[in-house]
Amino acid sequence: MNEALLRSLTPSVLGILVRRGADFAAAEDAVQDALVEAVRVWPAEPPRDPKGWLVTVAWHRFLDATRADTARRRREDLVDEEPAAGPASAVDDTLQLYFLCAHPSLTPPSAVALTLRAVGGLTTRQIAQAYLVPEATMAQRISRAKRTVSGVRFDQPGDVATVLRVLYLVFNEGYSGDVDLAAEAIRLTRQLAAAIDHPEVAGLLALMLLHHARRAARTAPDGSLVPLAEQDRSRWDTESIAEGVEVLQAALARDRLGEFQAQAAIAALHADALTAEETDWVQIVEWYDELTRLTGSPVVRLNRAVAVGEADGARAGLAALAGLDPSLPRHAAVAAYLHERDGDLAMAAGLYAEAARQAPNLPERDHLMRQAARLNARQSR
């Protein structure tokens, strides 16, 4: 039984039910039931037409669920009048579902949960495990999200940017429990890229592929972080890099630059360097300039300071850092790094310790604490 195939059919099956007149929330429940049924039945009796099978089962589930409902008659009348799947293609349905699940009326966490379930075909339990919350909490989050979008019409075009933000959030969530959220985000972004021709969708897909390629090298066997410069680059996934670069180049050729393409370009330049020393930091700084222009984000300026430090020396990096708000996340870590490169080990050690106290997660905290300890040990010698 191919779970990937099953889950890739989820959005188009759901789209067909909604077009037949089922309300989104009930249709989504019915599709989930059909997926569970497929997992049970398909191994022994593989269907000749998997999608047709899912539509039929989901539709019956939907009718069963609404049978007791007073609205049943009205719904069945509706069914009689409704043309079958209609002229709308599965691609359109899939795209509409992405828009609906990332609707601006939803908070980001709700949009993430709804997207993973309705578009991704994951179960509530899987999503709850991935985000380390009780299943009941996640079930409520999803049902509230469904209520929030219940009045949204299915045929209105949405904003690709909101969808991309949701997919970015899924990818960037570091947890890797039973469900690999990074791989799932790539699958969903790939599926989106097939449904809509948009350079930023391609840019995000490239960004994900290029970062995912480094995954095996990012952590040591003991779970500690390995910084980019120290990673064993032979462990990078060259297939994923090649695909990311190809997707990115096609997007850049369209000459409609956006922040995801610019971020992917930076990742591609890192991927291109066989050793850390070969990194083309001058070009990376140029891309950070583009990113700053596109986003105005202070976090981008902070990362740019690191790149400037590599391209033009630690003093230049510290100068680039000077104008930035010290309360920015990871400001102390960047300052520590640049001061160490500048030779001021005492200052750097103090800043690393401060950065460790402010670190937002354990692996980063431990990494920064080790940096502080390393410098303190060197000075006391």
Partner: protein, 135 residues
């Protein structure tokens, strides 16, 4: 989404506004307090923000390793320990502001005279996992 610990202290937090020890409340006031806590947790489950809630007994024992083949050394409880945790709630919310808002509501749990305790709760962010994209 970020997880926060709302920490309730027996001791160690600044004094509450309505600072009457629970053993001097009426039984009805205690029930009303418990009901409020319960309803709060149920409401957060409904909003998809609840993760966990637990209460702790005040008595604790300090334990430490005492070398190969020896039983651990225990000490305490220490009556004079300055900071004493009473319990916690873990929430998973959209923002720091939302965590503060919820802690404020929890602090309004009724105490003596049925009036809000206005007790000080400590809000502590969880250290999560590192993001995938770092540069």
């Amino acid at each position: 989404m970020a997880k926060y610990l709302l920490l309730k202290h027996y001791r160690g937090a600044p004094a509450a506004v309505n600072d009457v020890p629970m053993d001097q409340w009426t039984p009805e006031e205690i029930s009303a307090h418990m009901q409020y806590m319960h309803d709060f947790a149920v409401r957060l489950e409904g909003t998809g923000e609840f993760v966990d809630g637990q209460a702790l007994a005040p008595e604790g024992t300090f334990v430490r390793y005492d070398g190969e083949g020896r039983p651990p050394v225990t000490d305490g409880p220490f009556a004079e320990t300055k900071d004493l945790i009473a319990g916690w709630m873990v929430i998973d919310v959209d923002s720091y502001e939302r965590a503060i808002e919820l802690a404020g509501e929890l602090s309004a749990a009724p105490g003596a005279g049925g009036k809000p305790i206005h007790e000080w709760l400590e809000v502590r962010p969880f250290l999560g996992e590192p993001p995938t994209i770092t540069e």
